[in-house]
Subunit: 341 residues, 2 copies
DNA sequence: TAAAACAAATAAATCGTTTTAGCATAATTA
DNA sequence: TAATTATGCTAAAACGATTTATTTGTTTTA
């Protein structure tokens, strides 16, 4: 267990001041007019012994940790997992590491996690915020921390966010169901006051009422445990046998919905037409394939990281706050097509 | 942007030495026989002003960062995502944060990431190691770092690891196919010298040869890009029309396999019986449901974190190195049952 | 030729903690 | 009563970097 080299060791070995070493290593040799000879000598020696600066000491002094805090709802949810993956790649390429955590949409947990991130001096925050976290985010921003929200935003907090056009997405999907001839169309979604959920509900409602139909909305409490989602879902389906079609508000609910349908031996689209938010393998490979509202995950990740890097590099950029609204893509598959009777 | 309070601010405000504050805050008041009155005063003041120690300074001094580095193959793979999620939960409960990254099974990338983790002074490492990383892991261990491998291990490196009984898993699955009456059974897997892959191949081979059948093994290069997996897979299926059954070596290959079968309009199990390693929604919900080798993800995560915490708390524990081999569960579903002709 | 400017490098302060070693004063022992 | 031991607290060093302010010669300038 060899002791790690410090800058002092280098300085002593070369009989040079550590100040000089530091300047050279930080590319300030020219500016500090340190002779080319010495620069070369130092660089060579550093390479030879494989010295690496202690990033903790560096961070302590400079106040920068080169770390980004990423808070998603649940890292094991395929939507968040794929976004996390893309963000991770791009962050690393720009010299940043990621510390991540799952909030479970739990406000208190999120609060604790934010203060953990703060303690660890992360340089920037990427957050899919739960409800009730407004004050904490605001105080983060007031303290000058770069913050980018995604997947949803906080209406009264002025900060950058990236999300999709949720309202239009569900409006469009609902219209598609109506156009196909379905009339008893339900929306099943998580009970939530989060913006993306409210918009999804509104989009559905707008489409439904524009055609004079009756809105049927089933809200389910957010839960990790699938049983607690499937139970009310099962009750709902059993209790509404005259339903034509269901629009699922999230991929998780959509997946649970498919499981319940399987249990009850209901087939899409004959027994029930189906559309789910988010698109992933389960929906693509299902028989019949499930119509899905595909979010542009790559684009979301790109915007998120780019906006954050902008703010990180140029503090003044924090002033104007950008909101990016991206389009979704309704992947029409047979689960939502009126069976050609 | 209010300046953060430091321990000196607290000391000055109360007219007490910072040493004393530090002792009190670290629960060493009794040991250092500091009067109850003072302890109370300090604790109250600290709570009132909401002082939190700067963890960077703390880490610099103590050499502990309370961070665990987690390296998986790909965080967006459902197997790794769910393990990561479980590990994350348990780590946080024990006061540790997670820094994670995806290795893509790329040795050089992994090497870079290990040195990043080292730089950041993570206290412990959880790694699903790619090939060729033996030396780096060894040097980590030699430097006294607690390391736990999972999902696979490195044969010549003595360290703790958690994995499943891969050999028996594929042996058992193959036997099941044979028992069902299938005879032309292929194994499609990633080309890899990793232990878990070698074992999976061996398990398949053992079962095949024990019955005097012919082993048909298709190895595909590891790739993120699905097209590059699907292309050779498609060629293989087209080129071997007499195949009875396929055992897929990983969930990713399994998913791609299903996509190709969908394209080619092949149905399981009539056209081709199917079993995949790993069990998740895509397989459970598929029509027909896909027989899968389910890994005990919760148990894996529990062992991983427990073994690591043990080593973290008790350096001597590093000496005896544990290998935990867990059982998988073959979830038999209709994709592997000989159609009752 | 004295003053100013420059070149090349460094000493010391700093970031915010923990930890070691030590200092008064009061209480106990012998 | 002098020596010892507790008690309660603190000064200063250390962790390993960056940054500010300074030093010491050497050239230019006027």
């Amino acid at each position: 267990m060899k002791k790690k080299l410090s800058i002092v060791d280098i300085a002593n070995a070369l009989n040079v001041s550590k100040t000089t070493i530091s300047f050279i290593l930080n590319g300030r040799a020219q500016e500090k007019r340190i002779s080319g000879d010495l620069v070369k000598k130092v660089m060579e020696y550093v390479a030879e012994v494989g010295y690496k600066a202690n990033s903790l000491a560096k961070s302590l002094r400079t106040g920068k940790s080169n770390t980004i805090g990423l808070m998603v709802e649940d890292i094991s949810n395929p939507f968040f997992a794929s976004i996390a993956r893309l963000i991770e790649d791009r962050a690393y390429k720009n010299g940043y590491k990621i510390i991540y955590c799952s909030t479970d949409n739990d406000t208190q947990k999120t609060r604790d996690l934010i203060s953990m991130f703060r303690e660890r001096h992360v340089d920037g925050y990427i957050i899919a915020p739960p409800e009730g976290i407004e004050e904490d985010i605001e105080s983060l921003i007031n303290d000058g921390m770069p913050v980018v929200l995604f997947d949803r935003h906080l209406p009264n907090v002025a900060t950058d966010f990236i999300e999709v056009d949720n309202l239009f997405s569900t409006y469009n999907a609902t219209r598609h169901l109506i156009d196909q001839g379905f009339r008893n169309i339900a929306l099943v979604t998580f009970a939530s006051q989060q913006t993306q959920m409210l918009d999804r509900v509104r989009g559905y409602q707008d489409a439904i009422t524009s055609k004079g139909l009756k809105a049927i909305i089933k809200e389910i409490a957010f839960h990790q445990d699938e049983e607690l989602i499937m139970n009310p879902l099962r009750d709902f389906m059993k209790g509404n046998p005259d339903l034509d079609a269901i629009l699922f508000g999230t991929n998780h609910i959509g997946t649970c919905g498919l499981k319940v349908m399987k249990e009850l031996d209901k087939k899409a689209p004959t027994d029930l037409a189906i559309i789910s938010f988010d698109d992933y393998d389960v929906f693509k490979l299902h028989s019949p394939p499930i119509t899905a509202i595909a979010q542009p995950v790559e684009e979301i990740a790109d915007y998120v990281i780019n906006v954050l890097l902008d703010k990180l590099n140029d503090r003044s950029a924090s002033l104007r706050s950008r909101s990016v609204i991206l389009r979704t893509d309704l992947k029409i598959r047979s689960s939502s097509l009126k069976s050609s009777v």
